[in-house]
Amino acid sequence: MGLNVQFTTKENVLLVRLSGELDHHASEQLKKEWQLAIKEHGVKHVILNLEDLSFMDSSGLGVFLGRYKEIMQLGGEMVVCSISPAVKRLFDMSGLFKIIRLEESEEYALLRLGVA
């Protein structure tokens, strides 16, 4: 089972929905597509919806941190939502919640960024 990635935009927000498994193998392609999506759509903020992500390891943390840094430089914010307990443990362990805000759902994440 691989990784499926869906990019959508809403105003200046890029919505990234991941489903399947995110490991080192999938992370390289994800990074390329994600960077392209940020550039192509000229967005400022990112919402990362992990509702259908069934597996993730530390490679995912690396990719998220990389995109966070790029979004930061654009003056934007990154919000993660609909996270499973297993993925949440990895975020907690790495301290990622100190820089990436967690919201319950995509709706709340959009509200948080002033887009609703």
């Binding site: 490991d23 080192h24 193998h25 597996f55 530390s58 690396g62 941190l65 990895l90 362990m93």
Partner: protein, 146 residues
């Protein structure tokens, strides 16, 4: 009774998923919880990824070895490569430490292994390779119906 499984496979990243699913499928006979299974899959993924990226520097024609032993409710996992090895193990296992920041590695691999398993031993010699030994005791809190 000891029950053992050995696996060797090429050092290509598409085998990361294969390795974790194979180990999970072998361990299933001990009837682990979903959380325990996720933890095991994650640590296999971490160790195999380390071997591919760091041990073999992404050379696809090398071999990674996994050995998994089940005894009662305990699991011993050995994940081994014959790659470059680690010069300073104490440094390598530090949270957030990565020797390859340019590859967007989080540096959390060993920290995750230590968190998800009961015991982690790393044996490594520069030029000879790295062996990660992981131990985990499954919880026996399964309800019995009489």
């Amino acid at each position: 009774m000891k029950n053992k499984m050995n696996l060797d496979f090429s050092s290509v990243s598409s085998n990361e998923a294969f390795a974790r699913v194979a180990v999970a499928s072998f361990v299933t006979q001990l009837d682990p919880t979903m959380d325990e299974l996720t933890e095991l899959k994650t640590v296999v993924s971490e160790a195999v990824t380390n071997s591919i990226i760091h041990g073999y520097d992404n050379q696809p024609d090398q071999t990674i070895y996994i050995s998994c032993t089940l005894e009662e409710d305990a699991i011993e996992l050995i994940i081994k490569d014959e790659g470059v090895g680690i010069a300073d193990i104490d440094e390598a296992v530090q949270p957030l430490y990565t020797s390859k920041p340019e590859l967007e590695r989080s540096g959390m691999g060993f920290t995750i292994m230590e968190n998800f398993m009961d015991k982690v031993d790393v044996v490594s010699h520069p030029g000879e390779g790295t062996m990660v030994k992981l131990y985990k005791q499954l919880k026996k809190s399964k309800t019995l119906c009489n």
